[in-house]
Subunit: 229 residues, 2 copies
DNA sequence: ACCTGAACACCGTTCAAGT
DNA sequence: ACCTGAACACCGTTCAAGT
């Protein structure tokens, strides 16, 4: 009867908030939002479900912490561009890619309005917006519009990934399915949607995302010119 | 004369998809997303939980149907404005108000990417975008940007309402709490967020939303001018 | 065709009890 | 201080059985 049966196998590291968040991200990335449960997390970390609550307040807290790790990582990259507009574009595309790689993040951010990851995003976007020529009282609405746009696209993008995963399809194939459904809508009730279904099939999410960012930037520049001129 | 069945406790109407969706909207509006459960719904409709599944595929289907009722209502109003840009503004503000009045809709729409309510929204927005002077291949990205922006703001707005509700606060008071938290962040790590906290407290969600819509429209007009000129 | 409601397979969270 | 794991109070969904 080996006595080590009663001794816990030596852990790589003891339980910590950092390890929990890391494991949560892994579960979320691998299996989507449904895969993150305290039971699965406990099994993954070889501990009890209740132990996690010593380091993390609740599931909402955990999702916010996981988002913050990903957001911080995304926003730290690509700030070396030479103009505010270019840095803005770089930040935006990094956020897009991060939300694409971690589709759970869209809804996580949508559920944590004032939390740290949102403050981080506002801060980084806001810093570049200040660099664009504009009156000070435009800074807030412009920053706000950019952040909301980024989150809006990210959320829909995440939804598409999730839908694809649930139906066990490639993402592009899932979009084709949607496009086919739109094409078969009543063309009297949905004249534009039916005719736009083709673009839905062939479009590039990433390009369209950047087109929107550029539209917002162009709008800011146009408004600034009008104010200045 | 039609035979009348003698029923001791006659219902107003028998169970139907329409009545279920209507009751779901009521529960959602009154108690938030948490309040919509099949058990609560069954009790409200004086039936069994399983009966609902005869008319509705699952909870996701129910949320989508509920969203569609609200979206259809919002988009039917205010199409009488005299220019495409004005009609676009009218549609946007109606969507904002609808998402504000029904805070559960933001996340419901985010979970139903290709579904009917999304097709409806794309169709109505797209129809006005076509009226703006632009090249045909810009129609899709512009429509897409507007829709995503609307959903992004709606989602965050809903999150604010939800947060306020959960903490049992007035919505403006909840935002003040967030603003205070941002103000107390490390001003070295969050230089812009800390200094923008004041605007967070005093801003008007609705005005900021429209400022973003105008920014996008201005961007479209500026791009069109450049292409044309 | 439509409804019932118990049962199934889960959840997040708590907490007395351990080390 | 930190962890255990059973227990609690729920969920969405299914399905044999009813009308």
């Amino acid at each position: 009867m080996p006595k080590r049966k009663h001794q816990p196998a030596p852990r790589d590291t003891s339980l910590s908030r950092e390890r929990i968040v890391e494991a949560a991200i892994q579960l979320l990335d691998e299996g989507g939002e449904r895969a993150l449960t305290f039971r699965a997390l406990a099994e993954h970390l070889e501990t009890g479900a209740g132990a996690i609550y010593w380091h993390v307040a609740n599931k909402h807290d955990l999702l916010t912490a996981a988002s913050d790790v990903v957001v911080a990582q995304a926003l730290d990259a690509g700030t070396s561009a030479r103009s505010p507009a270019k840095r803005l574009r770089a930040l935006a595309i990094h956020m897009f890619d991060a939300m694409d790689a971690h589709p759970w993040m869209g809804s996580a951010l949508a559920q944590a309005p004032g939390a740290i990851p949102m403050a981080r995003l506002f801060d980084r976007i806001g810093a570049q917006v200040r660099g664009l020529a504009m009156t000070p009282n435009q800074e807030w609405p412009v920053t706000s519009a950019l952040v909301h746009y980024i989150l809006g696209v990210g959320g829909q993008n995440a939804a598409n990934s999730k839908m694809a995963r649930e139906r066990g399809l490639e993402r592009s194939h899932a979009l084709t399915t949607v496009a086919d459904a739109w094409q078969e809508l009543d063309s009297h009730a949905f004249p534009v949607a039916t005719s736009m279904a083709r673009q839905l099939k062939t479009h590039d999410d990433r390009e369209d995302f950047m087109a929107g960012v550029d539209l917002l930037i162009a709008g800011v520049v146009a408004s600034a010119d009008r104010t200045a001129g």
